[in-house]
Symmetry: C2
Subunit: 395 residues, 2 copies
């Protein structure tokens, strides 16, 4: 057994989160794609079966009240809240991330001073954020200006209405400085909208602590909610009375069953709701969140960094020099929970890795992406991934 | 046995759709709320269990390709298409009805001549359509004018950009004249957007035949897709190249995995997609649609009218004169698949009906609503509902 394999075994033995792995359905493979689709928590199938067979099949329409369907978006929002550093009453679950980016950005522009005519958007963000920001700008008569996160401080000014940023870059795994950027945005008088897709569930976000205005995120990566599980929207409590949604569906009405012809928004985070929630996907997510009970996000973050550090060490040891180039920052404060390696023939290399049971993903044109979910990835997994990668690209 | 009960038995014996009832999970109750939440098709739980345990739990990320997750929105759209009289390639499934109303109405306004500055909306429609229309008007700089469907022909003119109408009124069950209204809208040079929530799956819609421009609908009523199952969007084929979505998420990009910084819409109905689809809810819907295999919508419509005719006859016979007033039109061409009865103390009456196993719903302030799903409601159900209603309000 190699020295690294021995180290891996020791690290696993000392891992305080190790027992959580048993909560998930996993197999022989090393699953390093939880930053794309989280693994299935083992208790979820039975919970969803109950939702379908009993709540839908037997109670039917009564479940909107008796099974708590109607209040699921805000109830599940309150389950996500502590994971992103938010007090209750500020998050609702529902719709896709794209749709929530639209709500958040249009609402942010409407909360800004009317003479601020520019929206800044992270030029390196996951593309959908940029497309939706373009639409939000067009519909609100603002100009969209793509800048890198590093350029944001200089780009801010009296024209800036709102800034949409990604907390962790989906491609490189770079973690942006949410506290400092939010402070800079506020100093310029603009609103900060953060996309947490690649950070929530992997590290401490601190939404309330850092005064973030609005945030969105998906729930199918580190939160393991299932394929396409609904996204969420955070609206800071003091901004809620001014949250003016571009999608004022009946679920966000102050009196949804009053069937009033004119719209009057509900108080609080509820006004981020739109239409009828997709109950099956939503209650699968609710069940999946059970694994977070008593899990400390600081322990998660510590393990995440230990995993990525160890992976980089394994790559250094096993992969021939110059064969891959790490795109993820070395400094902990700039690193999310994934490692991105630039590699010639990355598409072919990833196919061979997958054949050998190391599941990462390939991002066009030349990036190998490996996600490290602290709840179920072991150091032994990491050593194997590094070793197989070395064997695949080397020799 | 009363004469009506004998008639009910005979009608059930002659019902060519009778065997379909066995495809659903039903109990002792008479379920007349399928126009709110359709009953569970019996095979759905096992299908969803496979999606969760095998597709998510075992194949995980590979299921986006291997289990057909990625193409589900358009594949399931093509399953709905024949039910609403549409050729393939014009419907995508995803998001809520409210979100789809937004996409359809903003896109319709953008397809209309730029100097047309007014949107007409059905003043009697389900409220969310009106709220979303108000938002679409505000964001596109148009004026919103609520009118009743009967007033639409006179209200149309050179200023009209688009008209949003409901095919069947959710409250009264009145069926509006889609062919004539669509023709009138077109004659004025405007676009017609129809909401099919209360008609799809209960009667023939004929989207292609009548030249409807855009349409939306939910799938959890007569299509039995499950609580909050995703809605759909129809864009007529020849309009698709001009469909300019206000929600251009990455799923509607011409090259979604190219991760391009700038947006380029996919061809066809795909450009109605937005973000990552909610796979669990969506594939439950796909399974639910299996019951429509070989079902003729004209047979469904014929049974629907026979059921509502028979219910009105039972009400006439069993309910003391003047105790309820029917709000649903008597003429077949003006009737959807529900009967709405105005009744004093409607809330209390509905609670008592439900206690006695007749499940309808109450709409504020004074309406008893009974939906008749032709796939599983029997004439015996109808006779019992009428009899219990008579006993509840009479005497």
């Amino acid at each position: 057994m190699s020295e690294l394999a021995v180290r891996a075994r020791k690290l696993d033995g000392a891992d305080e989160l190790a027992a959580l792995r048993d909560r998930f359905v996993l197999d022989e493979a090393v699953y390093l794609d939880g930053n794309s689709l989280g693994a299935l928590p083992g208790h979820v199938p039975d919970r969803v079966a109950d939702v379908i067979r009993r709540q839908w099949g037997e109670l039917r329409i009564r479940s909107w009240e008796e099974s708590g369907w109607w209040t699921a978006p805000e109830r599940i929002g309150d389950r996500i809240a502590p994971l992103v550093g938010a007090a209750p009453g500020q998050i609702v679950v529902g719709d896709s991330t794209s749709v929530n980016v639209f709500k958040a950005l249009v609402a942010a522009v409407r909360m800004a001073d009317g003479d601020r005519d520019e929206i800044l958007v992270d030029a390196t963000t996951f593309p959908t954020d940029g497309y939706i920001a373009e639409s939000a700008a067009r519909l609100t008569g603002r100009t969209l200006r793509p800048v890198t996160p590093a350029e944001v401080p200089d780009a801010l000014g009296g024209r800036t209405a709102a800034v949409l940023l990604n907390h962790v870059d989906y491609r490189t795994g770079r973690l942006h400085d949410l506290p400092a950027l939010t402070a800079a945005i506020h100093a310029s008088g603009a609103l900060a909208v953060w996309d947490l897709c690649h950070s929530a569930g992997a590290l401490e976000v601190g939404l309330d602590e850092h005064g973030v205005d609005l945030a969105v995120g998906c729930t199918y990566k580190y939160l393991n909610g299932g394929p396409g599980s609904p996204a969420y929207l955070y609206v800071r409590e003091d901004l809620q009375p001014r949250f003016d949604s571009p999608l004022p569906g009946w679920n966000s009405h102050a009196e949804p069953f009053g069937m009033r012809p004119s719209y009057a928004p509900a108080p609080g985070a509820l006004r981020g709701r739109v239409g009828t929630p997709d109950i099956l996907s939503m209650l699968a997510l609710e069940a999946a969140l059970d694994v977070w009970q008593d899990v400390s996000m600081s322990a998660v973050r510590a393990k995440s960094l230990a995993l990525t550090d160890f992976f980089l060490e394994c790559v250094e040891r096993y992969v021939p020099a110059g064969r891959v180039e790490c795109l993820t920052p070395a400094r902990h404060q700039e690193r999310g929970s994934q490692i991105a390696l630039r590699c010639d023939d990355a598409g072919k290399v990833m196919r061979r890795l997958i054949e050998r049971g190391v599941i990462g993903d390939f991002r066009h044109p030349d990036v190998l992406r490996f996600g490290f979910t602290p709840l179920y990835v072991t150091f032994t997994d990491v050593e194997r991934a590094g070793r197989v990668l070395g064997e695949t690209v080397g020799g």
